[in-house]
Symmetry: C2
Subunit: 207 residues, 2 copies
């Protein structure tokens, strides 16, 4: 599967959705899926699925469908999920706990190596199997464990400082769950998930 042309972000998001659905099928020992079945499970139409796959090459068996394991493996490769990504989490509150629990449960090549918090009550404890360190050591610990990605889920307005420490610590990407709009930085990819903006958008549509 080689990348043949520029893939729009929205297609990447659908590919991620297909991959998650295929992982579910695989978990249930389903070996073959038709594009119609996959489309239905993902609430898209099957023409869309074929179009999205075409960005990465040809696969599927005419009249039969797709081999679940093979397709999953190809899509993961396409997304860059065939390698393991080392994550650090900043903010071990409710949001951080929910995110880490969910992302670990996906079993998708993401490894949460360490969590960081400001609260002395939390430092030295564990979230599941993830040890919690002081946010004061964020830069040097990020560097030491060679983290790829930092997830920011703080609730105290310190997201930019945390991002600065993560960047100095050598991460290549940041997923920001706080409302703080982080300053762009060279060679760092930043994605922001902004809850209130999504709720505002919903209200706009309803108005």
């Amino acid at each position: 599967m080689t990348r043949t042309k520029k893939v729009p972000p929205v297609a990447i998001r659908r590919i991620s959705l297909y991959a998650r659905q295929l992982a579910l099928l695989d978990l249930n020992n389903i070996t073959i899926v038709s594009s119609t079945e996959l489309a239905e499970a993902c609430n898209v139409n099957s023409a869309q699925i074929r179009k999205d796959f075409a960005y990465f090459g040809e696969f599927g068996i005419r009249g039969t469908g797709y081999y679940v394991k093979d397709l999953l493996s190809e899509l993961r490769k396409a997304l860059g999920l065939h390698k393991q990504w080392r994550l650090v989490l900043v903010g071990a509150g409710h949001l951080g706990t929910a995110l880490a629990g969910y992302l670990v449960s996906l079993n998708q090549g993401y490894i949460f190596v360490k969590a960081f918090d400001r609260d002395p009550e939390k430092i030295g404890r564990y979230m599941g199997s993830i040890p919690i360190f002081s946010v004061e050591n964020l830069e040097q610990e990020t560097k030491r464990i060679k983290a790829d990605i930092g997830i920011i889920a703080t609730n105290d307005g310190t997201a930019q400082e945390c991002a600065n420490s993560l960047i100095r610590g050598g991460v290549r990407g940041i997923l920001n769950f706080t409302p703080v709009k982080l300053k762009p930085s060279d060679d760092i990819q930043i994605e922001q998930v902004d809850f209130s903006i999504r709720l505002d958008s919903l209200c706009y549509k309803l108005s």
Copy 2:
């Protein structure tokens, strides 16, 4: 401020961001802001801000800037946030707790009326000031309190059943924080915030 043409979703998201930034300025008793200052705080360029505002009409004082309170009020009207939105939350775990805490803290016209959970340990208790009810009563309670929007933050794969109850209960919009892709439904607006897809997208960019 009248809607003059179709506003693209991405402009709506920026308007929401500007409104949040203006609310912060207002909170700090700042009365006038230039488009350059607002642009800097939001990490966009000022031409973009003027373009986004133009969807809704003309305002600002040439050479001076914008009156913070007036502009905030206009943008809130544009987003439909001048009315109060009654929200119910399904799922009172870590994620639901984080979301409710954050959205309430914005003080933006959102009222969390009730939360629902399956866990008997949680039912009858409160999340902050929000009472937690049994999810079995979701449909009738949603109807009774005339909720506008349901937020789904469950972690047990029951998102579609919850959505069905919310829709029968009369909500007009659903904000779905679970990975379950909800079936579209007539007259219901659904927005999904999918964490793992955003993380996958980030990894794709880094690959």
